[in-house]
Symmetry: C2
Subunit: 280 residues, 2 copies
């Protein structure tokens, strides 16, 4: 047993959809979350920049002595997971691998669609992770760059712009034997119903958040590091900008109110230029 917290980071709000599942599955755990709202989004940025940001976010979390870190951002998982694992001496759970495993489990030999940000899709991380597990599966990738701003603006599945956008991105996937669609961005679960409506009832929808929380449970169980059941868990959030906006929009991602949201100034998470320079 280990009562140290679970550290979770994301480029902004989206990772809260992972936290939502973590809280349900492991209510006894303490969660410390870092949202890099000063530099959000990561999905249109380059690999070196995303690696740099992800390492800074993870290093910020180290001060809370976490027993495990979750890279709850698909872009960071896709572009920076190797650097995170190399740079940290504790378990790092990403969102890509659990999502890929679920896709393979559910595909039954049919096709898999990966929906994600520009950077996640360009990285080919999901197809690569699936290829290792099931090289014969057909994988089709679709960048859906408007989904994040649509969610951030608070538009829901019944919104006409959302419906038209989902149709525009995904209509061409119909009739191609797709059995599984992976929501490869933590914002996308909020558009799940609209996505499911376009893809049809025969397509399984995989939410990385759910799969990732199961992966966290497995890792902590195997290591004997779960908190004692019955203990009251907690949730603290730290953001690099705009705690009020985070609190307002963030509650849409969770079943609970965000109580503790604290601003972190740049000197709290940006490595000094010297250290950054050494790291490259």
């Amino acid at each position: 047993m280990n009562t140290q917290p679970i550290g979770v980071f994301d480029s902004g709000l989206g990772g809260l959809s992972v936290v939502c599942h973590l809280r349900r599955l492991l209510p006894q755990e303490r969660i410390v979350y870092f949202g890099d709202t000063a530099r959000v989004p990561y999905g249109i940025k380059s690999r070196p920049t995303v690696v740099n940001f992800a390492l800074e976010a993870a290093r910020f979390l180290l001060q809370f002595e976490p027993k495990l870190i979750v890279a709850a951002c698909n872009t960071a998982s896709a572009l920076a997971i190797d650097d995170l694992r190399r740079g940290l001496s504790l378990p790092v759970v990403d969102v890509v691998e659990p999502g890929a495993q679920a896709a393979v489990r559910l595909a039954g030999g049919g096709g898999v669609a990966i929906l994600g940000t520009e950077a996640t899709i360009a990285s080919c991380s999901y197809p690569a992770a699936i290829r290792v597990l099931a090289p014969e599966l057909e994988v089709i990738s679709r960048a859906c760059p408007l989904f994040v701003p649509l969610v951030e603006e608070g538009r829901g599945c019944d919104d006409p712009i959302v419906k038209l956008t989902v149709e525009t991105y995904l209509a061409s996937l119909r009739g191609r034997g797709i059995r599984v669609a992976v929501l490869g961005c933590t914002h996308y679960p909020l558009l799940r119903a609209a996505i499911a409506a376009v893809l049809g009832p025969d397509v399984h929808i995989v939410e990385s958040g759910r799969e990732t929380s199961l992966a966290v449970q497995r890792v902590l169980t195997d290591a004997g590091s779960l908190c004692p059941a019955g203990r009251k868990g907690s949730m603290r959030c730290y953001v690099s900008d705009n705690p009020d906006r985070f609190r307002g929009i963030g509650s849409r991602f969770l079943d609970e109110q965000l109580e503790h949201v604290e601003f972190v100034p740049p000197e709290g998470y940006i490595a000094s230029p010297l250290v950054q320079g050494e790291g490259r």
Copy 2:
């Protein structure tokens, strides 16, 4: 006469729509541009963070010894112009004031609509600038958060999602006596035709870029600091991330190819934490 360059900065690409007008009006000038593509967009971020980013961008440009700096970002102009002018000992031209002046000139006593990002609209900078010049004018503000991602994705005025989004944001402005609409974000000129179609032929559209380049011409003329006419101007761009993406999308904002686009690592523009701490 003064052959030092004009410094221009923006959160990313959008400022190139200002540069487009500058290049046409003052082809003899050297322009040095900084696009903060690692931290784009500014429009959903808080005032302290935008002030911090804008000061870092401007300080980066100082190494080129510019004769004038243009804050070619509506959000930075709206939130950080006072800090920029206080912090720099050279003329700083923003995009809000020239846009507000043009709106007042063209309104003829009718209403003015301001279209901008969340942060620009929340700052009330345009209404405040207009109130100083013409306190009797009615000003209606509309945040249009999807316009930037629509442009960044390369969608044009004929795109069905663009048309529906413009209609959704702006339809309620019809029949309210609007005579002028200010495109209060440097991305919006690329959606000009779609915006004009919804607002109707009686509404003047003001592009901050055009007005700002005229303001730059005035300031340099008054100071006797224009480059000699007939001299060949130039354009160099520096970005905090992803020069290839900048080159690709950036050309849509300009009439010319982007020849020189150079990556600047974090240590090239981020003030040391100590200096940042002192500044607050």
